[in-house]
Symmetry: D2
Subunit: 337 residues, 4 copies
């Protein structure tokens, strides 16, 4: 490293870029935010000011040509992920990148090759792995608390569809949304998937059908050990953000479950009412901070990241398999991708 602190450049001055920028700038003594880069000059300038950072730019070359910069955090739009990963690798800089690496496996593989050749660290932003609940579940499973894993079950629902303008570039339900579930179950199970069967439907909004996409889905999975998994998704949840994951083993089960927004119950003649977390940024705010700590820690220690590029690729291959199954109406192995 160039200095005592890890010097970090931030790509992307939007919602997620701001979240990561605050963590780097204020929450990690071992890191410092050196420059903010965004195609929108005003956004870059404003975020840099808010984060009390002196430098901002619209030109990635200002980052990649700067020897004092150790690492980059990529929170730009999806299409920029793979090129920035590749450029960072070639410049010898470590990278943290939001999921997905790319919307196709060709670009994914090309970026991963660049990283592999450079020997730099690449961590993918599957933030759930750093959530206290999920992390504790993983640790308990590894410690044998539920015996041998036999089934996994996940529900994930967004409060409502993304903005229409986002959808054509989203990659579709499986690459955009289910990819989080694919990574999560694969990680909790501690093993790979041998086949996938997908059932999809258009129930939420006609736009999904127009885009040849689906908005509701159930994916069944068989893991290498024979364990079974199932993921159900919807682009709509009238009651807010919904992520619930269950792992059943030979000696017990773990439910990573329901989050109230506040620990408050209102009791009246109508019943007992509690609120709930509405949005993923609220649900996973601490996890976004924790994953950045883990990344800086990897960089400082030269240790492998907790979520690798291979993990990002594996989740995308599962999305490919789900899409192929949806089309062929048969189970599909992700290994062919």
């Amino acid at each position: 490293m160039s200095g005592e602190r890890v010097s970090v450049a931030l790509f992307g001055a939007g919602r997620i870029g701001r979240r990561h920028g605050r963590t780097i700038a204020f929450d990690i003594p071992a890191a410092e935010l050196s420059i903010v880069c965004d195609v929108d000059a005003e956004a870059a300038r404003q975020l840099a000011a808010d984060l009390r950072c002196d430098r901002w730019t619209t030109d990635p070359a200002d980052v990649f040509g700067d020897q004092s910069i150790d690492a980059v955090v990529i929170g730009a739009s999806t299409s920029a992920h793979a090129p920035l990963i590749t450029a960072a690798a070639k410049a010898g800089k470590h990278a943290f990148c939001e999921k997905p690496i790319a919307l196709d496996l060709e670009s994914t593989d090309s970026a991963l090759r660049a990283v592999s050749e450079a020997g730099t660290i690449l961590q993918i932003g599957f933030q759930r792995r750093f959530d206290k609940g999920f992390a504790k579940a993983k640790a308990m499973i590894e410690a044998g608390a539920i015996g041998k894993v036999e089934s996994l079950r996940e529900s994930m629902r967004d409060p409502g569809p993304p903005p229409p303008g986002y959808l054509p570039h989203s990659g579709g339900l499986y690459r955009d949304m289910t990819i989080h579930c694919f990574d999560c179950l694969r990680w909790l199970a501690g093993e790979d998937v041998s086949e996938v069967f997908a059932m999809g439907a258009n129930l939420v909004d006609p736009i999904f059908k127009e885009l040849n996409d689906i908005d509701t889905s159930i994916v069944s999975m068989r893991f290498d050990s024979g364990a079974l998994g199932v993921i159900d998704n919807s682009r709509r949840s009238a009651f807010g953000y919904d992520v619930r994951t269950e792992v059943f083993g030979s000696e017990g089960a773990i439910l990573i479950g329901y989050s109230r927004d506040t620990p408050l119950l209102h009791l009246s003649a109508e019943g007992i009412v509690s609120d709930h977390v509405y949005w993923f940024l609220e649900r996973f705010d601490e996890a976004f901070i924790a994953e950045m700590h883990a990344f800086i820690d990897s960089v400082k220690r030269g240790a492998p990241p907790q979520v690798t590029g291979a993990d990002g690729r594996a989740a995308m291959a599962l999305a490919y398999a789900a899409e192929a199954s949806l089309k062929s109406r048969t189970p599909v192995s992700p290994r062919q991708f």
Copy 2:
């Protein structure tokens, strides 16, 4: 006993009499319902018919003069409790009696003397002790699951005030309602109370003030070991029947807690809603059955009952102490009563 089955007479053909009658008639192979007695002939006749019992009467002498009857279950109105307990004892019959034994300690003591002289079994209807939740709590406390008991806390609220006609004969809040809490905390703590301080208020309905009664109360208690307890009561609960009891010990705590009526959650934009148990007969239905099993079992085995006349008296003495404290505005020892 006169026969293979315990032959039981039932006094009282009202709500609680019917509950106990069904248990005796249908749920306990070791018992049989022999006769139903009520001042209201039609009520006695109808209940006997519903319980498939051949005999009914309005005259207690038909019960006490019948040698084949082993035991009586007293679910008549409160003023009849002590006289029936006394008559049963004199006739050599075992008795189960709803709480309270009497609304005053003089009558209580007189009835208990008769039982003591006769050597018959008397069980008092503190049904909570037979509720699965409370019974498990008691067993856990005795097994040391929470270490030494240090504090106890109970909330008990009725959905609404009793009918106005009942109130003048109720004995007031402490003898009518808090008496359940007094028995429960004394039993869970496993020790007696050395002092009581009561604070009362009139907030629910003016009728309580007119009757020189209260409708809202907080009673603080000190137990012999030094442990503290507190009971809060109200004659109104907008959300239904509310009984929650907490026991804190040196190594943990037990909450006997919230009961949903159905295991159903409704999730909507307004929040997550569950229902709750509205009425004590629903909440404690199984306990009413279990206490009758225990009574018949005591009679069959000639064993002491699980809730004694002394327990009934002790709870009433606590009610006396609470009333005295309310008047004197100082802590009062129940030992003087």
Copy 3:
């Protein structure tokens, strides 16, 4: 009807027969238990005695030849269901029968034809429909509380595999266990299923593989409206009986969820612990009583039953479809069966 009360004969003196017998004998004033029939004379005699019923027999002809008997309750072994339904129909007697009607659709159809020709009432024992939680969920869905149904999700797990001797005659996982889930989702959705895809595994016990059966399964379903459903089952659940059902709609969701056995929490340094219901007889005890009330009520009023023979057949057709899908590894329509 022959008398004021519905006169009922009970077939089967085992666990479920005893449960239904108690309800008929003691809980329903409008019914009377007239005779108990079981191939085991001693079991029939003993159960009749316990239920205070004068008659018992080992010969079904004693039931079917008796004009005074209005209805039969069939809790005998599965292979006897269809013959007894058929005999009851031919004798003009209404019938309540435990699920399944038969383990194959041929026998099912033959029994249903007999009922149809006789014009008698036949109710199938899907007791869940009478559980307070499920019944309330159904009523809420019909009242529009969650808008249009879009997805359904159910987990059902037994504490452990049935006795080895039972398995060869069980009909396999789908006909024996999942059949409850098939009925439940079909009923909650209020519509039929157009296709089914099944994934199964052998993880619990080698005996299932030996019997060419499975012990773990995920079944995806598409309903006629396009709604999706998923059922996951296991023959083992280390933590007790597990039935949780979720229905997601355009405006909300319903979870029929977790049941504690007692409303008790134990708090200690290890965490907060609650217990849970271990076995289906505990979980659904009230539902078994309620379904019998509904049956007697149908018979008295000459009204159609709440769970018809067609419902029983439809659930079995779904089991057939799941089995066919398991074999063909493709989605299968239940309509072909």
Copy 4:
């Protein structure tokens, strides 16, 4: 104000000072941390460095003599609170001060007089008022969600006693710990207290008795409207930090209740286990941030603070009343203090 941002000096470089310093330095764009002051030079220097603040000192005169400083945040030890409040007022600087203002009412009144004369803003650190759960409860009560408030109930337990060295200077249970409960119930009820009765015990550790202090307590309260309240406290809680508050009204109730640390359930043959929040800094972390935002906002807008010096004094007067009641064994009015 001297500049665009509110310039803030921080007194106290310990645990709570660090928490507030981070908020000022990084989380509030409208504020800037100008200097850190602590009697321990190394602690002041280190905290300033961690917070990327250029100035630190051990001399309060460096703060009070600096015209560019608008406000002070007082997180120093309790005995320094009143002198620093007074000095800040005299220097015309607004102040945020941790509770209590002082351990005695004389010093409290003297400090409040100085603030009153200077016309500066003083906010007291009752952070609970800024917790999402408590804040929502207050808003619901004010909006009439539970009708007229009739009873309030609070449990507050610390995981274990403070370090022995802290105790002699703590002010005792009521001034140190119950003071949070006093403020909270007074605030939720929206009214003052007319009488207090206290019952205390020594059950946790002999040191409390040696110091003439108590470790377990129940305090009953009557509010001006006649509503009743009760607070139970313990210096020990084997299962972690415990704050649960309940407000019962004529039309419903609110429970501000149980917090899991993670939304995770572990199901096994032993039961269903969840974890819980162990420590108040975890439970109220967001509230500490929110109260600082509110303070800076008051300063910027010249608006009265949400928690006033009078609130701080009123809670202390309740502690005095509780102590007097403990001694006199009679109810005591806090109005005499």
